[in-house]
Symmetry: C2
Subunit: 283 residues, 2 copies
């Protein structure tokens, strides 16, 4: 596996691969990798010849009161895991490499960024869209893989790619869960044992949503209250939002037709966790 820190080295490596007719896959990450990330690498492997990952904790997508400084980092472990999982190149830039001069340019997506997580994290998706655009321009990948766990991020990036005619195919990869059902997240490391146990309520509430959807419930409000009731039964859990939206437009649904995204964000202690259920009639 090639390990590079400079944009120019990425460009050189990609150029050599493209000259051999290889397709390029990209998995952008913020590091502190878990099985969820590694499933993205595997997905990229299935869909491209030369699999690249980036590990960059992007400062501009964190709000002033968010966890940029304490966001978990373990770059040696990340390199080892990527190598073991068939990644061909990893790009680990410094903040200075990504933002060398005063940045004046921002890529913004409106409307679908004002709800769900975006409503509570102003500027977050501007930071995400800007850095993803930069990574796409650096790697010029054929495909890029994102985790479905951040369902809003997937919807926002797909819309950005459509609006700006970015020649990259976006692939969303399913949520990976621990054996007990907790959605994997780098932020799970913040949880105490009690909180770790309490956090299972997120998946439990979505399981219940799935169950009543399967039994024929189509009223979004009923599903939302059922999920909220379950979450509220856990004393350590503080709900930020529970929403039932269309997975592409993120518009709030009243009645559910062919598909729906039930998305939740909760604080377990001081740790903010998200989870979701992507439901469609075919499932």
């Amino acid at each position: 596996m090639i390990v590079v820190k400079k944009i120019s080295d990425v460009r050189e490596a990609i150029k050599a691969q493209k000259a051999q007719g290889k397709t390029i896959g990209l998995v952008p990450t913020m590091g502190y990798l878990h099985e969820g990330h590694l499933s993205l690498v595997k997905k990229a492997r299935e869909n491209s010849d030369f699999v690249c990952a980036s590990v960059f904790v992007n400062p501009i997508q964190f709000g002033p009161n968010e966890d940029y400084n304490k966001y978990p980092r373990d770059i040696e472990r990340d390199i080892k895991l990527l190598e073991e999982n068939g990644c061909d190149l990893v790009f680990i830039p410094s903040v200075e490499e990504m933002y060398p001069n005063e940045r004046l340019t921002t890529v913004s997506v409106i409307k679908i960024t004002n709800k769900l997580c975006g409503a509570y994290r102003p500027g977050h998706f501007d930071g995400v869209c800007t850095v993803v655009t930069k990574l796409f321009n650096i790697f010029t990948p054929d495909i890029a893989v994102f985790g479905q766990k951040d369902a809003q991020q997937v919807a926002v990036i797909k819309k950005m790619v459509e609006d700006l005619n970015i020649p990259v195919k976006i692939i969303a990869s399913p949520i990976v869960r621990d054996k007990d059902g907790l959605a994997l997240s780098s932020r799970n490391v913040y949880l105490s044992d009690d909180e770790r146990h309490a956090a299972l309520i997120l998946n439990k509430s979505l399981k219940e949503a799935e169950k009543i959807l399967k039994s024929g419930e189509r009223n979004a409000e009923n599903i939302i209250s059922r999920v909220k009731n379950i979450l509220e039964s856990e004393p350590l859990c503080k709900i930020q939002y529970v929403s039932c939206v269309h997975p592409d437009t993120l518009e709030d649904l009243t009645a559910i037709n062919d598909k729906a995204l039930i998305a939740i964000a909760c604080y377990i202690g001081n740790t903010r966790l998200i989870d979701n259920l992507l439901w469609s009639v075919d499932v």
Copy 2:
């Protein structure tokens, strides 16, 4: 010359050229071409193997009270001129082709867009940056050529390319003038005979600025007042701005060192014209 209206046809043509190892040059235009545009095509020819132009009057870069609807158009003539001047492909999309769905994504550059023309055309450069990003993603050119006449546009696009790591080399091409000195512009067609004559004052004022710069004047304020005095001597000319800035950062200069951009915008009757002098000690 290939004439295409669909993005997919552009991609196909570009792919075929790249497969042959050809480099791609792009000249984005709003059509109603004059010798200024054709000099850009020539410049692209000198710097790439396969020369492409786009002709698209981009609605999102016009303000509500600007001349989008009456902007001059003559697509048959444009095609003929491009073909005669060695262009290999011209892309003439409809508004629906470029903006098929509700657009939620914008590429914005701050600070350097708030002065000169940007101060009088709110949202203009958001529209420019967004459409240029789209065209870059559609053509994936190696180089793109822009006219130095819109000096702010050149500075803004260069900054956008730097900030977003867009893999396109931006080339600025010098202003082309009519025999009498008037900078070529598609909007010159709006001018009556009297206005056409009055419009010469723009170039005359810049000639004077050049003269006093050559004679050693380094005080920006003195140069600006000299230019303003000359422009004000023409009754049909109404000054919008006269600025002396750094050509890259567009920051106002007080003392001129190695280089300066003297940029002016005036109304001649109802027609807004711009012109500028890019001055450096080497000239």
